[in-house]
């Protein structure tokens, strides 16, 4: 088992054989190489060839390197007769994958050098994926190795994600990579980010290492599987945020579902199986509806042009009539609403959170719920603007009453801290959805910011609840009381995270809520009830303080009523290191939200502009009427891979 961090073993543990050192160094070097090649991805003025040479070098050496690493990692007790074949297999596998890897280069507009790396995003997905596969070849008996590998891969991904920040996002998409995957069905491997997904990708790359690091204290069994699940989950989440091909998006969307299902089901609490199944079924039910909608819309495109496509920008061009669009929209939207989760399909969330281990809860709250809100913003509003506008007013009512107010009221009644925080997520995501429904610049920016904020503050809260759970093995509010005395640092951290969650000005939560509420009131999508909804959202501010402070009071203040609480050790160094970045981020975003807002502003304005252009240009009750047809390709879409399909037959008639 893992050696306790508090007592460093004087002699090397027998479970840590001599080969670990060199193998480890090699792994670190590999990742560092990749990270550096990406960090230097856009040297000012230098030609892009130097960069691709580095990539090519890594690429050509990959099979040999993989073989060597895997062979080296096999425990010394196994002889060469085991090592060589496995190493060979790994090398072949690597060769296979590198050959499978789409060979076609991305389209480069003529005359212009590529402004930015086209493979960077693939590295972001590929690194954790490769890490997950590497974990499979590592011995189960070496937990420290597994943990370190996971962390290093995650930190490498984080480092590789940093160059994303060096680009001014503006209105368009960046780091565009578009390669044909399955030609027959028009399925591409198309990834790119804009100012909206940029922050969600960064949120993912930042919060997963924190979740992993925090979870290593409490996860004691099946560490190998845990590390594997973590890395797969990260790959799936990043992939879903960057995919611009609907098929690819769906693949990633499902990819992240399974590791989370395992996390809850294997490492969860007493009722874990039930919660995991509930989580899985709820999400799956939505996903299937989305799949049907994706297939239908791709099929329609195929009928119009002769060849189907799953490309986001192509499918955006399809004009549907109302009866079709509403169903397609519903297929996507219900899937996203389940993920958000919105009332009334939210009941899986408290159960999942209560049973999930700390790391799982953190990722679930910080990133996976954002998948629903991001999906709604990108796909529902992007593909079905008329339907999104039509139902905005009604759904905003659901978000306010069912999310902000109802979620808060439910949270107030909870005795289990984790359940309470889970219900508070329902309330917070109600704000995000309200911002998206209001469809004004400020409210949408606020919604995207609030996605990040919720990831940070709720992530911190789950982490901290995990800390106390590890010590007391209970989460019932009544079992605590007066904890501020034995655990002052912990109490301070918890209160800061609470205040951010409550939306105290100066913390990040305020900026998001404020922008959403302000934007909601000036919205013209919500009909005449925009005022009522803004007031409802403002009432949520009171309720938020009510339930969070009640919980804080029950946990930390008052006399210590239980003997066990007198000597609870305070937060330790590992936990503090994990939570510190989140606490810092709370203040940084609270005071300098423009750091984030300035990058997303143009992307949000483009998204909203697309919606209102469609909604306002359509005759009749805001919908296009007549046969399904294609629009012109949007100006902000990245360049296409292939030449546009021959003029569709349908348009000729």
């Amino acid at each position: 088992m893992a050696a306790k961090t508090s007592t460093p073993a004087p002699t090397p543990s027998p479970l840590r054989p001599a080969w670990v050192g060199p193998a480890f160094t090699a792994l670190v070097a590999l990742i560092a190489l990749v990270a550096f090649s990406q960090l230097g991805g856009r040297p000012a003025g230098s030609s892009p060839t130097g960069y691709s040479a580095a990539t090519a070098l890594v690429g050509s050496m990959l099979p040999a390197l993989a073989a060597a690493v895997v062979a080296g990692l096999i425990p010394a007790s196994h002889g060469w007769r085991v090592r060589v074949p496995i190493g060979l297999m790994a090398g072949l596998f690597a060769l296979f994958i590198s050959r499978m890897w789409p060979g076609a280069d991305a389209v480069i507009p003529e005359g212009e050098p590529p402004p930015e790396s086209t493979t960077l995003l693939s590295w972001l997905v590929g690194l954790p994926l490769a890490g997950a596969i590497a974990i499979l070849f590592m011995p189960r008996q070496a937990p420290r190795l597994l943990k370190a590998t996971t962390l290093i891969v995650m930190l490498g991904t984080l480092a590789a994600a940093l160059p994303l920040l060096s680009v001014d996002m503006g209105r368009g998409y960046h780091f565009n990579q578009d390669v044909v995957w399955i030609e027959r069905f028009g399925i591409h491997y198309h990834v790119a980010i804009d100012g909206i997904s940029l922050w969600l990708v960064l949120l993912t790359t930042v919060s997963t290492p924190i979740a992993a690091y925090a979870s290593f204290g409490s996860i004691k069994t099946r560490i190998k599987d845990w590390c594997f699940a973590l890395l797969m989950l990260q790959a799936g989440m990043i992939g879903a945020f960057i995919a611009l091909d609907l098929f690819l998006f769906y693949v990633f969307w499902e990819l992240m579902l399974i590791p989370m299902y395992l996390m809850i089901g294997v490492w969860g609490g007493a009722n874990r199986i039930k919660s995991a199944i509930k989580f899985f079924l709820y999400t799956m039910a939505g996903s299937v509806m989305m799949l049907v909608a994706i297939l239908y819309i791709a099929y329609t495109y195929g009928k119009l042009t002769g060849s189907p496509s799953f490309d986001y920008f192509e499918l955006q061009r399809v004009l549907h009539t109302r009866d079709v669009q509403v169903w397609l929209w519903a297929g996507f939207a219900i899937s996203f609403f389940i993920k958000v989760p919105m009332f009334p399909v939210h009941t899986w969330l408290p159960d999942a959170h209560t049973e999930a281990p700390t790391g799982g809860s953190m990722i679930l709250a910080a990133v996976m719920l954002k998948m629903g809100t991001y999906g709604y913003l990108r796909f529902c509003m992007g593909l079905f603007p008329e339907a999104s506008a039509e139902f905005a007013a009604t759904l905003a009512g659901v978000a306010v009453l069912g999310g902000i107010i109802y979620g808060a009221l439910c949270a107030w009644r909870q005795d289990d801290v984790k359940r309470l925080v889970a219900y508070s997520s329902v309330a917070h995501l109600g704000y995000v959805m309200l911002g998206l429904f209001a469809q004004t610049q400020a409210s949408t920016e606020g919604a995207v910011l609030q996605m990040i904020n919720h990831g940070i503050s709720t992530g911190a809260l789950f982490l901290l609840v995990g800390v106390i759970y590890d010590r007391r093995h209970t989460r019932q509010l009544d079992d605590f009381g007066g904890l501020a005395k034995p655990m002052p640092v912990f109490a301070t951290m918890f209160i800061i995270a609470t205040l951010a969650s409550v939306g105290l000005p100066g913390t990040n939560g305020f900026v998001g809520e404020f922008m959403i509420i302000m934007g909601t009131f000036v919205s013209n999508r919500l009909g005449h009830v925009n005022g009522v909804q803004a007031v409802g959202a403002a009432i949520g501010v009171i309720l938020g303080a009510l339930y969070m402070l009640t919980a804080v009071q029950k946990m930390f203040f008052g006399p210590i009523t239980r003997e066990e609480n007198k000597r609870v050790p305070d937060i330790n160094a590992r936990e503090l290191v994990a939570v510190a970045p989140l606490i810092i981020a709370i203040f940084v975003i609270g005071l300098f939200p423009n750091l984030l807002l300035s990058q997303m502003r143009d992307a949000v304005s483009r998204t909203l502009g697309d919606v209102s252009a469609r909604v306002e240009s359509s005759p009749g009750p805001r919908y296009y009427q007549g046969p399904t047809k294609l629009l012109k390709r949007s100006a902000s879409a990245p360049p296409q891979l292939a030449a546009p399909a021959p003029a569709p037959a349908a348009e000729e008639n």
Partner: protein
């Protein structure tokens, strides 16, 4: 001055940043490193931070004064020369915070910008100056507390937030400070958090404030919507649109948001929608915020509970600074409030009623801090009464004087409690005035300053409180806020709310009544505490007492050791109560002196009496309230003068009656009348002692209501939503599974039986004829109907179902071509015969729409719906 201006130009006055940064640094250093620094370093850090901030504030004030002097101009109006000053601001932009959407997709930048003008310049001096004195006091008062560092970190943080509140140049920045002081108040009320009531009081304060903050938020988005600005200058420029008479500038209360009820709900539709002007909506929303922060009806209940915090906190936050934020906000946005006379009336009445209600409660309280707390609520009511009547200068002046005398009273009370704590360790008993008495002898400095402040608060002539309270009552009597465009709108038949003329005198009368009670309870408090005999414990002769007994107990409030300290046996003689150390008495002396003399900054009463024109504060603040004062109607000069005399006499009588009665009851009769009265009406006494049971009322209604609501929500969530969505659908699937399982039981007979049934079904399908066909539309009304093939099928077509068949016999023609005229309908029948000689038929109705604008295939396809079926 020149150098100073070169360093800090008025448009980029970065000294404000310094004023703000010092307390923040102090809070950070003390909060993070305080535990290791030790008490002396913490004290040094905290005091230096606030001290430097105060010095910088004074420098800022001097620069501001200089700038104001530069803007001086003389205006001659109707032969009289007035001196006029411009509205000067020193501003400093830190950075842009965010951008929000305004009306018509405009982008409204929200900047972290600060500015100082005459109004918040004075406020800034109060906060840093009085704040510094209280810090000095606290550094001695809290000496024995183990969480000394935490206390000063919070206190510095409070000063920072308060400065943010008053220096902010727009509403969002003010809101940051507004919530920031709420947070510090929460932390400081619950400073001794191991006691549950303290923590609960902190929470209550925070939540009551949050209710107010809700109002402020609503006010902000209304302002953005109607004016497109949130900074003071932008708001002042665009405030006119709040009284725009167009329908879009009315806030629709019913139907909500201006909708229309239809169908059976039309009964709910009023004849004319209920609307209020945007100005009233904004005013009321912002005022809700003020009632939270400044403890007015209905949200005042948190303030008395807040006395659970350390006494310097009560002095600083809950008397001198934070609670006056509401008045500051109204003064700051006076140009918006005067646009709505209805709001002004609500403010004045709320203030007056709060003043009276709190004063009645204060009459019977025995806890010295509770008396002072209710007195604060009552005085805040006076201030709102003032600003609600349009007397912004007077209301603000009362903030100014109140800061001195109430801080002095609280610190004096703290000094007394400190002395009582020498032997009485129980909080409740050490603050009970019935255990005090006669302290005048033992604590002369405390007594003198407490008495000075008491004179000020009860309005003893020529003390600070006298001038400010007199001015408020006078303005309440004569001032009459009028809608600025009342005449214009009345001409256009637009209904404008006008304040009835009885409001002024009524509010004045309530104010005088509250002033009488104030004088009574404050004198009662003074007498019970400092006069008569000491009742706390038997005072022994010093030579007879053991040395160690005098030592202060370390754990007097120590939050770090929760051992229940044993109560001393008070029947044993002990040392006499002692005067407080010098660090505590010096602030008392300064504040006491200020309570006596600060009134001369704005002696409104003398202005009339001695015909002074250039009284300092009035002139200083004139440009700030220029727009607002224009909307207040005052009577003519002569009437004004006579009313002023009347009101002053009233105010003086209030003092005389209240103080005289208290003197008679508690000195002359030794409290006998009070005891007799209590025995006569014990029910009423108990009711007042229980604060009119307002807390219980709130518990029963609002709190219980919200509780029940959340209980319902939680059980609905588990019992209905989860039940229907998760368990019911699971049940359905399970039921279906159970049903299907019956057939999958492994018994061969059953399988065989099912097979037979299946075979029979299939056989029937093949034997029965199925007349099915697909209708295809071609251009120009041509339709092709193609029949589906089948086993040995032959077909017979009827181009018209009523007419003859195409061929007499069944043939092999699988399709028929039909032409339909525009706007006509045709029914085509298909008959089939299968290999077994059985026949079946089906009708197809073809409808061609009447002259479609441009008939295309797809539209035809949609409209020509095949319908009707008659299969055998």
């Amino acid at each position: 001055m020149k150098d100073l201006l070169a360093l800090f130009p008025p448009a980029d006055f970065s000294l404000i940043g310094f004023i703000l940064a010092m307390p923040l640094i102090g809070a950070f250093v003390n909060g993070v490193f305080g535990k290791r620094l030790g008490k002396d370093a913490v004290r040094l850090m905290a005091l230096t931070a606030i001290g430097l901030s105060f010095v910088a504030a004074v420098v800022t004030f001097i620069v501001l004064d200089h700038q104001v002097d530069l803007s001086r101009s003389e205006v001659t109006e109707a032969g009289v020369t007035h001196v006029k000053y411009g509205h000067v601001r020193l501003s400093w932009l830190a950075w842009e915070w965010m951008r929000i959407s305004g009306p018509r997709d405009a982008s409204v930048p929200i900047e972290l910008k600060f500015s100082v003008d005459a109004l918040n310049g004075v406020m800034m001096l109060i906060v840093t100056g009085v704040g510094f004195l209280i810090h000095v006091y606290a550094s001695s008062y809290m000496d024995k507390d183990k969480a000394y560092w935490r206390f000063f970190a919070y206190l510095n943080l409070f000063i920072f937030s308060m400065l943010l509140l008053i220096l902010g140049d727009n509403l969002p920045v003010l809101f940051v400070g507004w919530e920031g002081v709420g947070l510090c108040s929460y932390l400081l009320i619950g400073f001794w958090y191991t006691k549950l009531p303290n923590a609960a009081a902190g929470k209550k304060a925070f939540i009551a404030n949050r209710v107010g903050d809700f109002g402020l938020l609503v006010g902000m988005f209304l302002l953005v919507y109607y004016t497109g600005a949130l900074d003071w200058q932008g708001l002042e420029a665009a405030a006119g649109s709040l009284v725009n008479t167009s329908d879009a500038h009315q806030v629709h209360l019913w139907p909500l948001g201006g909708g229309q009820f239809q169908g059976p709900l039309a009964i709910l539709q009023p004849k004319t929608p209920w609307t209020i002007t945007a100005a009233t909506a904004v005013g009321l929303a912002l005022f809700l915020g003020c009632t939270g922060k400044s403890a007015q009806i209905p949200l005042y209940v948190w303030l008395p509970d807040a006395m659970a915090g350390p006494t310097p906190v009560s002095a600083l936050i809950h008397a001198a600074t934070m609670v006056t934020a509401g008045i500051y906000l109204i003064c700051r946005l006076s140009f918006i409030f005067v646009l709505s006379p209805a709001t002004m009336m609500v403010i004045a009445f709320t203030g007056a009623l709060t003043a009276l209600l709190a004063a009645t409660i204060a009459l019977v309280q025995n806890d010295i801090k509770k008396v002072l707390a209710y007195s604060t609520v009552s005085q805040l009511g006076f201030m709102f009464l003032g600003v609600g009547s349009g007397a912004f200068v007077a209301g603000f002046f009362h903030v100014f004087t109140h800061a001195f005398f109430k801080a002095c009273l609280f610190l004096g009370a703290g000094s007394v409690i400190h002395a009582m704590h020498a032997r009485v360790h129980d909080d409740e008993r050490s603050q009970d005035m019935r255990n005090m008495g006669g302290l005048r002898k033992y604590m002369p400095l405390t007594y003198a300053t407490f008495a000075a402040a008491t004179l000020a608060i009860i309005g003893f002539p020529l003390t600070a409180g006298f001038f400010s309270k007199d001015e408020i009552l006078f303005k309440a009597l004569v001032g009459h806020p009028v809608h600025p465009q009342a005449a214009k709108l009345a001409a256009r038949n637009f209904p404008v709310f006008a304040i009835p003329s009885w409001v002024g005198p009524t509010v004045y009368a309530i104010g005088v009544a509250a002033a009488i009670l104030t004088a009574f309870y404050m004198v009662r408090c003074l007498i019970l505490t400092f006069f008569g005999d000491f009742k706390g414990w038997t005072v022994g002769r010093p030579s007879m007492l053991a040395k160690h007994e005098h030592a202060h107990h370390d754990d007097e409030h120590g939050d770090d050791d929760d051992d229940h300290h044993h109560e001393e046996d008070l029947s044993q003689p002990g040392y006499p109560p002692h005067e407080s150390p010098r660090l505590m008495t010096i602030p008392l002396i300064i504040l006491g002196t200020a309570s006596l003399f600060a009134g001369f900054l704005n002696p409104g009463f003398l202005k009339g009496l001695l015909h002074w024109h250039d009284i300092p504060l009035d002139h200083w603040l004139e440009p700030v309230f220029e727009t607002a004062t224009a909307a207040i109607e005052l009577p003519k000069e002569e009437a004004l003068h006579s009313k002023e005399m009347m009101s002053t006499v009233g105010a003086f009588m209030a003092f005389a009656i209240g103080a005289g009665a208290a003197y008679w009851v508690y000195i002359k009769e030794k409290g006998k009348p009070a005891r007799e009265l209590i025995q006569k009406v014990p029910g009423l006494y108990q009711l007042v002692l229980d604060k009119w049971r307002v807390d219980e009322l709130y518990d029963r209604t609002v709190i219980n209501g919200a509780d029940a609501l959340s209980e319902t929500a939680a059980s609905v969530d588990q019992g209905i939503i989860d039940l229907v969505l998760a368990r019911l659908s699971a049940l359905l699937v399970a039921a279906l599974g159970t049903l299907l399982r019956v057939f999958q039981n492994g018994v061969v007979h059953v399988y065989a039986a099912i097979m037979v049934v299946g075979m029979a079904g299939l056989g029937w399908f093949f034997v029965a004829p199925h007349a099915q066909a697909e209708v295809k539309a071609e251009r120009a009304g041509d339709y092709v109907i193609e029949a589906a093939p089948g086993l040995g099928y032959t077909y017979r077509w009827y181009p018209d179902a009523a007419g003859k068949p195409q061929t007499e016999t069944f043939g092999a023609a699988t399709q028929i071509k039909v032409n339909v005229e525009e706007g006509k309908t045709k029914v085509v029948r298909l008959e089939i015969k299968n290999a077994f000689g059985l026949t079946g038929s089906k009708d197809f109705t073809l409808t061609r729409p009447k002259a479609p604008p441009k008939p295309t295939q797809l539209q035809l396809g949609q409209n020509a719906v095949p319908s009707g079926e008659r299969t055998n």
